[in-house]
Amino acid sequence: MRLTCRQENLAKGLGIVGRAVATRSTLPITNNVLLATDGGRLKLSATNLEIALSYWVGGNIEEDGAITVPARLLTDFVNTLPADNVLMALNGKSLKLQCLRFEAKMSGVDAEDFPPIPKIADGLDARIASEALHQAISQVAFAAAAEDTRPVLTGVHAEFEGSNLTLAAADGFRLAVYKAQLLSPVEGKTGVIIPAKALSELSRLLPEQEESVEITVSPSKSQVLFRLKDAELVSQLIQGTFPNYSQLIPQSSTCRAVVNTSEFLKATRTASIFARDASGIVRLVLTSGSEATPGKLTISARAEEVGENMGEIDAMVKGEASKIAFNAKYLTDVLSVIKEGQVALEITTPSSPGLLRPVGSEGYVHVVMPMFVQW
């Protein structure tokens, strides 16, 4: 193997695939990055056996070949090199790098020993605009469970049906459901559970992606491939049954308040400062207005022996005056991702789920369970 590429491109590629390098693995080679010439470009790959990331770097390939080298060593070294051409030459198992007056040699491990990255050719194939996918992931993935007491909840349920891709995530206390449009309809209905971590990694790659993303689900529904312009992400799918979430979305409410999203977010953040010492509890009170005055939403928090605060924002309140308490984090999480200017909060009792949805957009619903408090 012998090739030349730009330091900037190599550093960028290593930065991207580096996210998939295993950190605590029993398989030492997964700490390495795979370098291989591929169709006139240099392909960088890394895997932690759950996800695999590949990135193609343009360059001048003089001789084909492949090797794996410690990812951290290579990345750290390349990052410090000047922005110029980098020559890479393989001699046996030793990789030589040269950039202007800097030079390094590092011992590699055979590319043959690198875990094979699954090739997913057939199966369900769907295309989606990069921006739409980015939006869908950002509205849903944060609601997935961080701990794996129930593995399916660490994933995002993705359902492909007709022209729709519906993403849903729940962690036992909240549920986020977002409906995105595919570029072309798919046949039948396919549901899979994608690790939320894999989607978060994917969404880091999406903003600079101008084109569409191709999604392929393996026929056995064990892996999914996201193909971007210069990058590919393959993820294992989570096996199991995702909760039937549609029945968790309240169909009616006794009180509905429409408020300014950023005001609501700000007031919640203010209350969350006091809520820090009170299990994160913020209390919401909805009061309807009269003919002359608008209704209001008050958001307060109190921590024993610390203090309390209260904030108030205008709200268009329909229905009975109500109160409900939430974990501040759950509110700020969802309010931070809603881009629409107004959001509707729909509640029924202090102990039944609250529903948030952006006003003027049908695609998103977010359900949050309240906290039981003594008022």
Partner: protein
């Protein structure tokens, strides 16, 4: 086979004797109790505060429940073969020199003919509730100082109930009529002085200290009588030639601060009979703990884990009774050489589930005993960071099932006793070592 452990019950309360902020109840308008301002606003009005203390409480309940024990020396704590200590001794037993916290074996040597009984804590709790509800009839300001004692603020109630002395007498009569337990009462202008007074003529006594005579009343008594003076403080005071409360009262606050830090000044004012702390309603429990002295020092993991399981269930049951959840779980270990340590961990979320409390404490034990060579004498489980608030769940989870299980067990045990249903772990401990109360 005897009872194999001594179970220490401890519900930590907000400090009862320390002056603390009084939360004004704005809704009810002017507070009933105006005593705090009586000094400053110039109104001449002395507080009338009772300290009511039930005599030999556990033993008295046992005697009330079983008339055949009446007049006999009764020792609550377990059978004399065990390693536990005396929880409570009737006055008939005290004649022989038996005292609380004395090892049972020693109590037996002092009085072999005494009746040794296991504790029936559920009965004590019921008796305590009935005791407190009697006090509630005479004042809205009742502050329990433990399961068997309370402060009652009678200030300003003369018009309604007559002089405080008479009320104290009536309370003692009612406690006897309704519970068959004698109560000793101290009556004065402050909590500290009343507490000392109630202890002075036990059992079945009533000691009143007139306004203005507090310091003179306390002065001749040994310092140990004063709340807050334990063996260590007593030792230090002895070292500086202070034996009587009056000597302590004469020391300057700055000197006392040197000796005891912040609490020094407080001790000094108490010694002078000055204590403005209000009688506050029941303090919120801040932690719950249960511990057990083992029948013999051991490093037997299954046995220790079984014991912790038992204690976790007791702590969990108490949490559920109080309708609280805990965020922090702590393990207490005392080794055979009496080295004692506490290790705590924060739970993922507040819980009242036995299994989660036990899981946390078991992990702490495993970590603590990794490579340990010293035998363990006592283990304890404590939960703190208590709260009533809870995050409700959207999806059914394992926790829901465990919560339902615990509540079902609570119901069964309330009717049929603890050992009506047990886990394998506690059953193994029980088989090996004796019975749980």
């Amino acid at each position: 086979m005897g009872k194999f452990y001594h179970e220490a019950h401890h519900v930590a309360k907000l400090a009862t004797l320390h002056p603390s902020h009084r939360h004004l109840d704005i809704d009810s308008g002017v507070g009933y109790n105006k005593n705090n301002s009586s000094m400053s606003d110039g109104v001449h009005m002395h507080r009338r505060i009772l300290h009511v203390d039930l005599d030999a409480f556990f033993a008295s309940v046992e005697q009330a429940l079983d008339p055949s024990l009446e007049g006999k020396p009764v020792v609550v704590g377990g059978k004399p073969g065990g390693r536990g200590v005396v929880s409570s001794a009737s006055y008939e037993a005290r004649v022989f020199g038996i005292r609380s916290a004395m090892p049972l074996s020693r109590a037996y040597r002092l009085c072999p003919q005494a009746v040794f009984v296991d504790g029936h804590f559920s009965y004590y709790r019921i008796a305590s509730q009935r005791f407190m509800s009697i006090l509630d009839d005479y004042s809205p300001h009742v502050e329990p100082g433990g399961i068997d004692e309370a402060y009652v603020d009678l200030t300003g109630s003369e018009a309604l109930f007559g002089p405080a002395h008479g009320v104290a007498q009536r309370i003692r009569e009612r406690v006897w009529d309704e519970l068959r337990i004698t109560a000793s009462v101290g009556l004065s202008t402050s909590k500290v002085v009343s507490k000392v007074a109630s202890d002075l003529d036990k059992p079945d006594g009533l000691v009143e200290v007139m306004p203005g005579e507090e310091a003179a009343f306390l002065a001749p008594l040994p310092v140990r009588r004063l709340p807050g003076v334990g063996p260590k403080t007593e030792q230090v005071l002895k070292g500086v030639g202070v034996a009587a409360i009056g000597d302590l009262a004469a020391l300057s606050p700055s000197y006392l601060c040197c000796l005891f830090g912040k609490t020094g000044a407080l001790l000094g004012s108490w010694a002078r009979g000055e204590d403005g702390s209000p009688v506050e309603e029941r303090g919120e429990a801040r932690s719950i703990s249960r511990c057990a002295t083992l029948s013999r020092d051991t490093l037997d993991r299954p046995f220790l884990l079984g014991m912790l399981r038992y204690l976790s269930e007791k702590v969990g049951a108490e949490l559920r009774r109080m309708e609280k959840r805990a965020r922090v779980v702590a393990l207490k270990v005392r080794y055979a050489d009496f080295e004692t340590l506490t290790r705590q961990c924060r739970l993922r979320g507040p819980t009242d589930i036995d299994q989660l409390i036990f899981g946390a404490v078991a992990e702490l034990l495993q970590r603590q005993l990794a490579g340990a060579a010293k035998l363990v004498r006592l283990v304890g489980v404590e939960v703190s960071g208590l709260q009533a608030e809870a995050q409700l769940r959207l999806l059914p989870s394992v926790e829901d099932r465990l919560e339902r299980l615990d509540r079902a067990l609570d119901g069964l045990r309330l009717r049929y006793g603890y050992d009506a249903v047990q886990t394998g772990r506690t059953l193994a401990v029980q088989r090996r070592a004796g019975v749980f109360s």
